[in-house]
């Protein structure tokens, strides 16, 4: 019992590390098969294989879940912990989907992505990123508010500049928001862009302001990351 707990809950033994790596590999495999299933024109053979992989994956995750409950000192605490719920949600859709009809399967398929959260248990990178986000939380909320306001006023402005010239692309303030998102983030797909002189000057002004707002989080996260690193040491 004590040996089993050590293998499952910790990774300071060789077998513990193998167990951890095995589970992680299975999570990645599961995400890859999820993607492959979306490919159009899959042969029947491929579909059968994907189903086999899915059954084996769920079987192993179920055993893992059972083992984690068995070795947990306070069982109910584990079951209702973040990782306990994630473990449960990683396998539950499979068992429920077996009993229902075909059409709702697509939603259940999406629920399988919960398995990705299982990897957080092992991933120090994501844990540090999470800590960095906590450090810069206040600034990031501020940034979201200012960005939202900037997007709103850009949309209203460009709507008034361009609506008459391009009544379809800039049909309403909501339609104009798509332009504002693509422009202020500097993605610039090129599906909507101003054609009037007024709209272009407005775009210029908005971008000058936007460059000082929208790329701010990069700096915030970068400095928070270095703080998070110091805190770990």
């Amino acid at each position: 019992m004590e040996t089993l707990r050590r293998i499952i809950e910790r990774n300071d033994t060789r077998r513990g590390r193998i167990f951890d790596l095995g589970i992680q590999a299975l999570i990645v495999l599961s995400l890859i098969t999820f993607s492959i299933e979306t490919l159009p024109d899959l042969s029947e053979n491929a579909q059968r294989w994907l189903r086999y992989v899915e059954i084996v994956t769920v079987a192993i995750f179920t055993i893992e879940y059972a083992l984690r409950i068995i070795v947990a000192e306070r069982k109910s605490e584990f079951i209702f912990s973040f990782f306990g719920l994630v473990d449960f949600l990683s396998i539950a859709p499979f068992y429920i989907a077996s009993g229902v009809d075909f059409r709702s399967v697509r939603v259940f398929r999406l629920l399988r992505l919960f398995r990705a959260f299982k990897i957080v248990r092992y991933n120090k990178a994501i844990q540090r990123f999470h800590r960095a986000l906590m450090i810069a939380r206040e600034e990031l909320v501020l940034y979201l508010l200012v960005t939202t306001m900037l997007l709103y006023f850009s949309s209203v402005g460009i709507y008034y500049c361009e609506h008459d010239a391009q009544p379809k692309e800039f049909a309403s303030v909501f339609h104009s928001m798509w332009w504002a998102v693509a422009t202020l983030t500097t993605v610039g797909y090129g599906d909507v862009y101003p054609v009037t002189t007024g709209g272009r000057i407005f775009t210029f002004v908005v971008l000058l302001i936007g460059l000082g707002v929208v790329s701010v989080p990069a700096g915030l996260v970068a400095s928070a990351l270095s703080k998070a690193r110091e805190m770990e040491q």
Copy 2:
């Protein structure tokens, strides 16, 4: 009277916080209805509802404005303060528009956006952002000057490179400026781009310089934000 003042001007009581949240919710509601009104093909029913919402909103804002004047210790000082003027401009267009004919309504509609400024009273995020902009003011002005010069010379340069090959897209230095804005901010809509070898090499050189200029404000604002945070504490 003292209790009323406390509810309206401060938020250290429960009723004061409810009052503040109510006004804020109304401002957001007002901005949303403003956007909905721009949607094409609105049903008569929807238009009637939007008019009702507008009347109720203005009524409440008018009451709020009256109350703020009543509780203000120095009345004329409040009326001509920034927030006093904003409160006035948030309701004035509605009363004036009722007396004039239909065609000029569109401009008055736009004036309703002044209501957005009312939210600044409650929003600490925008206040801190404003303080950060004040800290980095000098650098930001410098950045605007250098960016403007860079844009001007890029426009002249690309005009000479591309005018003969694309006389329509690069018709003059002013037309070329649109290309310069879209390129130096790295938005790149793709509606205008150089096609000659000279123009492409010029674009490359301009972008190498531009990347060191145009994204500078992000760093300036980020560091000013952290200074503004320190100053608050």
Copy 3:
């Protein structure tokens, strides 16, 4: 004489500041008329006015140049100094162009842009920017070298991935460089982009590396600007 020198060379008197502002306004006017001249379909009337403005501008700049020589203590030193040469080149093209035939005028027109450099004399922003560039010089040269190498290898890589699928867009390594410039700077006009799976994966890898290289100068310039500010104080 001493009073004249004070007006022209310094700006600690009221008349000195007016003189400086007047020259600066004239420079900006000159750059604007330069741009207007490139507009297609200018009326004869407008062209005549632009010619008048040009003659007046050159006349004033000539007087300014003469005055600066007169008040300079070491005349030859001023004439061959940076600003002396800029002042000379700002007016010389006009006098030379009067004597030659029409076709070469276009090149002379471009030389008028030298007038923009005159403004550097008054512009503290550009002077500080120049100082910042000096501070980060070494890193910026390094960045140019690494960027050039990254661009070269990206071009070669995408050429091998995409040449067979798009023989026209990726006709040679040189043609592919245009794609590399537009992609690594994240401008992404959308006139050339990879269509093969190999080319897309290559683009992904190149962009992951590129994001860590191409936006570095923004950080370098931002920190150099704050150093330059400290040095001024």
Copy 4:
């Protein structure tokens, strides 16, 4: 012997510097001819000249390689060192390609790019960049992991939003990844973009998060560069 070693291995004599510059010029020339060879419709004359340049380049590199072995104190150590192998791989393809048939030449041509690594021996900029990458290694790996996860979930999300509306562009999660790469890096070619309201809102959310993730390495590399500079001094 001692004089020769000094010329080849060090650059503290005048002849040593000339030797170094000569080799570097030859490397750059070699990379340029490599690019020229990819130009379509090369005349026979040009092809002949390119072949001559190639033969001379390889001849000089062979002599250089031989000299470096001769002057090396521990010969086998040099041969199996990084730069020894690079020197070997720079000339080997030429000799092997002479003996085989025409079709595989294209792959051998690509191997000639190994010559670019020869320049690292002389380039302090790249050495410092390499040191900076070592300093920020841990953070960069973290960034790659988080970026990969973000890309994966963006692809899955947009696939579910857009697959029904654009079954060709968003045919599978793998196809959607191309959109995710072009969007999160803000390149935005404009060949694929969401058209549904759901997809556009999803793009907005993903970009808000993405801007705080994808541009982080620029900050990391910039600060690592300044640390690397300090370490050198």
